[in-house]
C-alpha cells in the first residue's frame, strides 16, 4: 500500500433535478443542522435519513469536499443511536494530531482477517509464525451489494469501479458478476448465500481468486468449504447483529473464522437496540472471552455519514459496510421526503456513478482524519473499541440532572408566543430570539414579553433548562441592576498581578480579523470600553485601530500565532491562549482563501488569497507541563498581564481546568459546541466534545473538590444567546460568560450561516471585503451592543431578584435553582 493515500476527486454534478422539496435557499449548498427542513412545515422527514444527511451527502458526492459552514451548530446535540455519543478530543494534557490536509499522516488503513494472539521466534530470533491471510483496506469502509436492484448495470459497474479506485472492496453476489467487471476484479469480493453453489468458480461466473469472500449466515461448514476453495482469501461470515450475536461470533472464532460481518437494519437498529450499543456489547463480550483480537468485525446498517464510521469504530468495529448511502450519493432522497428516487428511473452512467462514490468517500475520509486528529489518534486500527475516547450522553446527562433542582415536563414551561413560520434563524437562534435581540439592541430596553426572548427551540442545551421560578411564575420582571453586585474580579490568585474587575459578568469572545471586518471589531471594542469590560482580538492579529482601546482588548494567542508579537502581548491587560474553539473542538483555524484579502494578509503577514490554517494543537504544547511553560512565557513577556486559557470541552475538561490552574492561569474559558465560527466542518459542530451545560458543572464541582474553586475564574462561552443563558451558565457553576454571536446579532446578523462563502456575509459582518464591511458602522454599532447588554443587565437583575439573591456571585454554582425540561 502506498505510503500516502490520496483520493483524487472531480466534480460530478447531478444531471437531473434533485428530487426532494427541501428548503434549500439560493446560497445553501446543503441543509445545515438545526434549520427548518421543509418550507412552511415543522416536519423533519425521516429521523435517521435526515434532510441534513441527504443534502450533505449530495454535496459531498458532487464536490468531494467536506461540508463546511459559518455560524454555530443549530441543533439539539444529543439524540438517538449514533447521536447519543460524541467523540472525545485531546487538549493540553495530550495533543491532537494535525492530520487534515496531510500535515501529519494519519492512517485510515484497516486489516481484515484472522490475527494471531502473538508471534513466535526461533532461538536465533527468526520469525517462525505463519500469518493467516488478511486484506488491508486504505479506509475502513467497504461496499455492500446494492440494497435494491437498479436499472441496467451502470450503478453496479460504477460501484465496483469506485471500490477499485479507492482500493477497497465491493461485495457482490455471484449473480451480479459479469465480464464487464473484469478490469476491476481486484475490488470485487463475493457474497455467497447458503443456497449458492460454491463451484461457480469453475463455471467462470466469478472472478478468479477473490481476496475476500463472505458467507451468509452462521454456517461453519460452508465457511470451511470456501476456505478450502480459496486458501489465499479472507473468508468472512455475515450475521445479523442481535442479542446473541456475541456467542455466535465466539463459536465462529473458536472454529477458526477470522472476519465476521454483523448487520443491523437500515436505520442502524439491531432488533430494538441502537447499533452502537449492540456493537459495543458484542465487542465487550469478545474481549471478555479473550477472543476479540483474533477476529475482525465489519458492521453495517444505516451507516449514513462520516461520523458514523468513526463512532462505529469506537464502539468496536474494524470496518463498516455501506449500502443505502450509495443510492443517496447518486441522488436519491430515500424516504426523507417520501419522494421519488431518480436513481430508479433509468440506468446510471457508470463513470459518473463511480465519481460520486469516490467523491463521497474522499470527503468521508477527510472527515475521519479530522475527528481522529481531534481525538489525538493517528491510526484507525487503534480506534477500534476505544470507547475511552467517546462521551456518552446517557452518562453525562445523568450527571447534569443530578445537580439540578429537578425535572418537569417541557409543557410546564411557559413559552411566550413566537411567529408561526420562522423566516430567519435556526432552532437555536429562532426568529423570535433574533427579533427580540434586534429590538433590545435598538432600544436598550428589556423585551416587553410579547415574544419569546429567553430560549430557542433546539431541544437541547440551555433550551432544556429553566429556572424553577419560570415554571411557577413565568419570566422575571426586569430590575435595576444598580441594586445588585454584577462585577467579576478576574484575578483571584493573589499572585501580585492586578486584580482587574469588570462591572458585569461577561466580555466579548474572540473573533479574528478575517472572520469579521474591522468595523465589527471596533464596535465591539467601543462597547467593551463603554462598559469597562473586554473584547478579544481573536487569532488574526491586533489591528492598529484597536490600540486606543487597548485597556479593553484581550490579546489572543491562538495556535497559528498570527499577528502575535511581544508588543501585542505587552499592551494587553488580559492575554488569552486559545487552545480550542467550541464550534470545532480539536480542529485548527481555517480562513478560506477568498477572505484572506490584502489587509488580512498584511496583518497576518501571510500570502494574500491563500487559505490560512491554524494548526492544532499548539505545537509548543503537547502536555500540561508544556502548557505551564507556555503560560510562564507570556507572564515573562508581560509581568502585569493576567492569563486566560480558552479550551473546549473534552471528557476530561475537569482535568484540563485543574491543569490550567496549576499552570498559573487566572481565567479558564470553557467554550462549548454551540459556539459561533467563521467556518467549521459540520461534522465537528455536533460530534466532538461535550455540550457546555455538561462541562460547566463538571469543572465547577471538580475545582471545588480540589479546594481551588475560589482561586480561579471560570468563564463559559459557546452559545450564550440571552440574559437567561448567562444566568443559567452561572447557576451551573461559571463565574461569567464570553459572548460572541449575540453581539453580531445586535449588529444585524440573521444567522444566515454563510460567513465563509465568497467574500463573506452579505450584511458586512463576517467579511473583510472593504466594500461589504462598510455596511457596518462602528460608530452606531457599538451603541447597539451596549443597548443589548443594558437590557441583559436589567433582566439579570430581575432573575437575581426573583431568586432572592443580591449578586451574581451568589448565583454561581446554585444549579438547584434550575430544572430540566423533559421531553
Amino acid at each position: 500500500m502506498s505510503t500516502r493515500y490520496h483520493i483524487p476527486t472531480a466534480p460530478a454534478p447531478a444531471p437531473f433535478d434533485l428530487p426532494a422539496a427541501f428548503r434549500l435557499l439560493e446560497h445553501d449548498d446543503y441543509l445545515k443542522y438545526g434549520h427548518q427542513v421543509f418550507e412552511g412545515r415543522a416536519a423533519r422527514g425521516d429521523l435517521h435519513w435526515t434532510a441534513e444527511v441527504i443534502t450533505q451527502t449530495w454535496y459531498q458526492a458532487e464536490t468531494g469536499r467536506i461540508p463546511i459552514s459559518g455560524a454555530g451548530y443549530g441543533g439539539p446535540f444529543a439524540g438517538q443511536g449514533f447521536d447519543s455519543l460524541w467523540l472525545d478530543m485531546s487538549e493540553i494534557v495530550r495533543p491532537t494530531r494535525d492530520g487534515i490536509h496531510g500535515r501529519e499522516t494519519i492512517s485510515t488503513i484497516v486489516d481484515l482477517g484472522r490475527r494471531l494472539p502473538s508471534l513466535r521466534f526461533d532461538d536465533g530470533g527468526r520469525l517462525v509464525s505463519v500469518l493467516p491471510p488478511t486484506v488491508a483496506l486504505p479506509l475502513p469502509v467497504l461496499f455492500n451489494p446494492l440494497p435494491e436492484p437498479l436499472p441496467g448495470r451502470g450503478a453496479l459497474r460504477g460501484l465496483v469501479q469506485a471500490a477499485h479506485r479507492l482500493g477497497t472492496l465491493a461485495l457482490l453476489t455471484p449473480d451480479e458478476w459479469g465480464d464487464d467487471l473484469l478490469e476491476y476484479r481486484a475490488a470485487v469480493a463475493l457474497r455467497l448465500a447458503p443456497e449458492t453453489r460454491f463451484f461457480c468458480k469453475r463455471s467462470g461466473k466469478t472472478p478468479v481468486s477473490p481476496r475476500f469472500v463472505e458467507i451468509e449466515g452462521d454456517a461453519p461448514d460452508l465457511w470451511k468449504q470456501a476456505r478450502d476453495l480459496w486458501p489465499e482469501a479472507v473468508i468472512s461470515v455475515r450475521l445479523p447483529l442481535c442479542c446473541d450475536a456475541g456467542e455466535t461470533v465466539r463459536d465462529l472464532v473458536r472454529a477458526g473464522v477470522g472476519v465476521v460481518h454483523l448487520f443491523a437494519d437500515d436505520v442502524a437498529d439491531a432488533g430494538g437496540v441502537p447499533l452502537p450499543a449492540a456493537l459495543s456489547a458484542v465487542h465487550g463480550y469478545l474481549v471478555d472471552q479473550g477472543l476479540r483480537d483474533q477476529v475482525s468485525l465489519i458492521v453495517s446498517g444505516g451507516i449514513a455519514a462520516a461520523e458514523h464510521v468513526a463512532k462505529a469504530l469506537v464502539c468496536g468495529a474494524d470496518a463498516v459496510a455501506v449500502d443505502w448511502i450509495l443510492l443517496v450519493a447518486w441522488g436519491c432522497a430515500l424516504w426523507a421526503d417520501r419522494g421519488r428516487c431518480p436513481v430508479e428511473q433509468g440506468e446510471l452512467e457508470s463513470g459518473w456513478a463511480a465519481q460520486r462514490v469516490v467523491n463521497l468517500m474522499a470527503a468521508w475520509r477527510d472527515q475521519l482524519l479530522e475527528v481522529m486528529g481531534a481525538m489525538g489518534m493517528r491510526e484507525a486500527r487503534r480506534m477500534r473499541g476505544e470507547s475511552g475516547r467517546a462521551i456518552f450522553d446517557v452518562t453525562e446527562s445523568v450527571r447534569l440532572k443530578d445537580v439540578l433542582g429537578g425535572a418537569v415536563p417541557e409543557s410546564a414551561y411557559r413559552r411566550l408566543p413566537e411567529p408561526e413560520h420562522s423566516v430567519e434563524g435556526d432552532f437555536r437562534w429562532t426568529t423570535a430570539l433574533l427579533l427580540t435581540s434586534h429590538e433590545q439592541a435598538r432600544t436598550g430596553e428589556p423585551p416587553d414579553g410579547t415574544m419569546e426572548y429567553r430560549v430557542g427551540r433546539s431541544g437541547g442545551g440551555f433550551d432544556r433548562l429553566a429556572f424553577a421560578f419560570e415554571i411557577e411564575r413565568g419570566p422575571a420582571e426586569p430590575a435595576d441592576p444598580a441594586g445588585f453586585h454584577m462585577d467579576l474580579v478576574l484575578n483571584r490568585r493573589g499572585d501580585g498581578r492586578p486584580a482587574i474587575s469588570i462591572p458585569l459578568p461577561w466580555w466579548g469572545s474572540g473573533m479574528s480579523y478575517g472572520s469579521v471586518g474591522l468595523p465589527v471589531m471596533l464596535a465591539r471594542a467601543m462597547a467593551a470600553q463603554a462598559f469597562g469590560t473586554f473584547t478579544s482580538t481573536g487569532e488574526g492579529g491586533y489591528p492598529e485601530e484597536l490600540v486606543p482601546y487597548a485597556d479593553h482588548v484581550i490579546t489572543q494567542i491562538a495556535t497559528g500565532l498570527f499577528g502575535v508579537r511581544e508588543e501585542t502581548i505587552q499592551r494587553a491587560r488580559l492575554v488569552e491562549f486559545k487552545y480550542a474553539q467550541g464550534a470545532k473542538p480539536g480542529l485548527g483555524g481555517h480562513l478560506l482563501g477568498n477572505k484572506n484579502t490584502a489587509t488580512v494578509a498584511r496583518l497576518r503577514e501571510a500570502v494574500e488569497g491563500t487559505s490560512l490554517f491554524s494548526p492544532f494543537p499548539f505545537h509548543s504544547v503537547y502536555s500540561v507541563e508544556d502548557h505551564k511553560k507556555h503560560v510562564d512565557w507570556v507572564k515573562t513577556v508581560n509581568p502585569r498581564a493576567l492569563v486566560a486559557v480558552k479550551v473546549s470541552t473534552p471528557t476530561d475538561v475537569d482535568m484540563v481546568a485543574v491543569g490550567s490552574y496549576y499552570a498559573g492561569a487566572h481565567v479558564i474559558q470553557l467554550d462549548g459546541s454551540y459556539g459561533g465560527t467563521g467556518a467549521a466542518p459540520e461534522i465537528a459542530k455536533k460530534n466532538i466534545a461535550m455540550p457546555i451545560e455538561y462541562a460547566i458543572p463538571k469543572v465547577h464541582r471538580f475545582l471545588e473538590a480540589e479546594g481551588i474553586r475560589d482561586e480561579v475564574v471560570v468563564v463559559a462561552s459557546g452559545g450564550i444567546r440571552t440574559a437567561y443563558d448567562v444566568a443559567k451558565a452561572i447557576a451551573l457553576g461559571a463565574d461569567g460568560c464570553a459572548i460572541g454571536t449575540a453581539e453580531l446579532v445586535a449588529l444585524g446578523c440573521t444567522r444566515l450561516g454563510s460567513c465563509e462563502k465568497g467574500q463573506g456575509c452579505p450584511f458586512g459582518i463576517t467579511t473583510t471585503d472593504p466594500h461589504l464591511s462598510a455596511l457596518v458602522d462602528a460608530s452606531q454599532g457599538w451603541q447597539r451592543i451596549v443597548n443589548l447588554y443594558r437590557s441583559w443587565l436589567a433582566q439579570l437583575a430581575g432573575i437575581l431578584q426573583a431568586l432572592g439573591m443580591r449578586g451574581v456571585r451568589e448565583l454561581r454554582g446554585r444549579s438547584g435553582v434550575l430544572v430540566y425540561l423533559e421531553e
Binding site: H101, G125, E386, E625, K635
Partner: protein, 893 residues
Amino acid sequence: MDTERLLESRRYMVRGEEWESRSPEAAEGGCGVLGLACNVPIAGRHVVEAAAQMHNRGNGKGGGIAMAGLDAAQMGVSPQTLRDAYLVQVAYLDPLARQEVEGAGLASFDLFQGYRVPVLDDDCRHCQVPGLEVRPPDVWRYFARVKPDALACFAETHRLEALPPRAVEDEFVYQNSFRLNREFYASLGEKRAFVLCHGRDLLVFKIVGYAEQVVQYYRLEDLTARVWIAHQRYPTKGRVWHPAGAHPFVGLNEALVHNGDFANYHALTEYLRQRHVVPLFLTDTEISVLLFDLWDRVYGYPLEVTLEALAPTTERDFAVLAAEKQVLYRAIQATHLHASPDGPWFFIIARSRPDEGQWQLLGITDTSMLRPQVFALYENADVQLGLIASERQAMNAALRSLAAEDPRFLPLADRYWVARGGSHTDGGAFTFTVHANAPSPLPLSGENASPIPLSGGYREGVRLTCADKFGSPVAVSTGQRHVDRARLRPAGAGDSFRRMLETQLYHAFDNGGSRSLFEWTVERLSAWTYDEVAACIALLTALGQAGDEEWGFVRQVLTLLRDRQYDPGDKRRASLLTLWDEGLSALFDSAPPIHRLKSARSGKPHCLRIAWDSRRALRPPDDAGCVLVVDALGFPPEGDDSAARCLVTAYELGWCHFVAYNWRGGRFAACGLGPHTAGVQVELYGDVGDYAASGLDGAEVHIHGDAQDQVGQILKDGKLVIHGDVGQTCLYGAKGGTIYVLGSAAGRPLINAVGRPRAVINGTCLDYLAESFMAGDPLNGGGFVILNGVTFDGHGRLVELETPYPGGNLFSLASGGAIYLHDPHHKVGEDQLNGGQFAPLSESDWALIQPYLQENERLFGIRVSALLTVDGEERCPAEVYRKVEVRPLAVLV
C-alpha cells in the same frame, strides 16, 4: 503453548474486575524523565542534581527512582543473593499491614534478608527534606526466593513444567505481587501497602514529591547503581495522591518511567485483558510496562520486535526498509498495531538481566517526536556513560555533578542526539547495556570507526555499549583521548611555549584581532597537549583581567575557540570545550561586580557583573557601550525573579549589551525585551532553556552552545545565532528575523511561520520542516530556509550527512516561502514533499541566498566554497542546491 499456559494461569486476575467502567485515574500529560547508565557505579547524589534541574517539569505530586546494578554490600547481601534472589520492596502506607504482608502475603517465599530501608529522620528527628509535604511510606526490603514446593505446585497446577524453572519462578513472583497489590491496595477503599518492585537487582522508590526528594528521604545519596532512572510527575487530577501512582512502574526485571499520555488507553487495557494482564494502578504508565513485560518476558520477543510493536515503522520509513525487514515488521504490525500506544509518549526503562550479566537503560520515543527527548554518550578509557533525558540541561547537570568529584568525568558528553520513533535511520530507540565481567572488551564504536585506545581501559572488566533499535552500535569518536583533569598542569607546557604564546597574544591584542589569534591558535592546536591548552587559557584569562578592552578581546577569542569547529588532533572536542568553558567562566567571574562602588580597574568600568546575590544593585549603565555580565546561577528558571526578567529590567534601565553565563536551563532568555530592539546584543553561555529569544524584535542573540525547545517562537526581527543544535519547533509562528544554526533542528522548525523569516540550518532536522510555511515569495521579500545537511567529523572537517533530510514530511501544506536544499546527490525524493515541488535553482535564487551563506561562513567558518565542493570539485550552485517551492494546492484556495 507454554506462553498460553502461562497467561492461562492468570485467568483469576480478570475475574471480578469491574474494569470496564474504569478510566485512568491520573492523566499525566507531561513530566520530566531522566536515565543514566554507566560501567562504574554511580552514586545517587548525582541523580539529585539532574532531577532537581527538571523540577519545573513536575509539580511535586509524584517522584520516583529506579536503580539497577546495585552494590551487594550496600544491600547487605552476598553478590550471589543479589544476583539470584528477588528484591522485593514493599511500601507500607499502614504500618500495621506489614505483619499481614510478611505473614500471608510472602508465605511462599524463603526470605534471605528483610529490613526497613533507613530514612532521613531516623537518626535526627528534625531532619527534613525541604519542601516535602507528604510523608513517604515506610519501605521494607526483602531478598526472596520462592519455596521449592510452592513453585513445584504452581508449575504442576498450570502445567508449566516444560518452561525453564526461572521463567516459572518469575511468573510466580509477578503473580504474588499482583495479589498483594490487589489485596492491600487496589481492592480497598483504604490503601495500605503496595509492592514497589520485585525483580532481581532492581530497586524502585516512589513518593508524593519530587524525584530528588526520594533520594534525600531514603538516603540514596551514597548508594550506587550502574543504571538509574528518575521521574518528575505532573499529574493533574485528584486532591489526594498516593505514591503508588508515581513512576516508575515495574513489570518484573524492568522499571519504566513515562512522559506522555496515551490516546488509546482503553483499547490497550482491552488488549491486555484478553491476555489476562490486569492493571491495578490505572495509569497509562503501568499499561506501558505491562505491555513491555508481556512482549519481552512472556512472549520472549527479541528486543527489536518489542520496540517495533511499541513504535511501528510506517510511511516512508517503512518503504525504505530492507525487504526482509519489511516482512518481519509487517507481521509485527499485523499482530500488534492496535496494541501500540497512540499519542505522545517517551519511555525510559531500566532493567536488569542477571542471567546475562547485563543491566540496561532504554529510551524509546513515539513516532511523531511529541515529547522532548535527548540522548547522550560520554566515554573515556575508564568510564562510559549513557544518558537519556527530557532536557539536555538535566544531563549536563548530572555530568557536572560527576565531574566535580571524579576526574574521569567531564561536565559535557561527547555526543548528544535526538530521535524519532519508528524512523528508518535508528528506530528512535536506543539501548545502553552495561556488561558485567565482560570476557574481552569490545570496542564501543561502530565497525567502521577507528578503534578506541584500550590501553588503560575497562579496568573493571565492566563496559557499556550503545545500540539503536536495529542493533547498530552508536559510535562516539575516533581515536582521540580525553583530558585527564587530575593530571592537568598548565605549567607543564614549558617556558618556550608560553613565551611564544605571549608574544602572539599581545601582538594580536595590540592589533585588535581576536580572529587572527583564533586562527593562529587553531592552526597549531591539533599538535598541542592538554597542558599547553591549559597554559593558553591561563594566559588568556590573565590578560582578560588586565582591563575592559582586554576582557572583551579574550571573551571573543575564547568564544571562537568554543564555538568553532577545527581539528583538535588527538584531543577530544568535549575535553576542549570543558577547558574553554572553564576559561570563559573564570573570565566572566573576573568582571567587576556591580555592587562594588569602586571598580578595581581604573576609570569607568566598561563591563559590570551582576549575580543573584547582587541583583538588587542593578542600576543604569554608565555609558551606552557598557556590557552587563549576568551570572545566571541561582536565578530561578522562570518567573518574576528569573534571569530572563533580570535582563529585561536591565534593558529598561538602558543596558544594551549583555553577556549572560552559567545559564542552567533557565527559560525565556532574551524574551520580553519588547519591540524595536535593534542594537541590543545578548550573548548567552551555558544551558539555555526553552523559549530562548521568543518574540525577538530587532536584537541580536548568540547562544554559545546548544539550544533547547521552542526557540524563537513568533520571532519578529533581529538575528539569532545558535552555535550548536536546537530543539523542537524552533521559529514556530515566526514573522521575520534571521536565524543561523550550526547544527540541527530537531523537529517542526518554522511551523506556521509567516512574513520573512530566513533560516540557515547547517545540519538537518528529523521531520516536519516548514510545515504550513506561509512566508510569501522569497524572491520578493518573503522567507526561506537553507538546509545544508552537513556536519563535522572528529577532526573538524565538513562532511555531508547521509541525507540532508531523513523525514517524510517536508514543506507540508506550505503556501509561501521556499526551502533551499543542499542536496548535490538528489537524495531527497518527491515522496518526502507534502505539497511542495522541486524547482531548479535560478540565478536570482542564488543571488538571494549567497549573502546568507557568506554570513554563515563568517559566523561558523563553514566556507561557501566548501559547500559547493562535491567529490573534490567545486560546482556551480545550481548543481548543489535544489529549491523546494510552493505548489498550488486545492485546499489552499
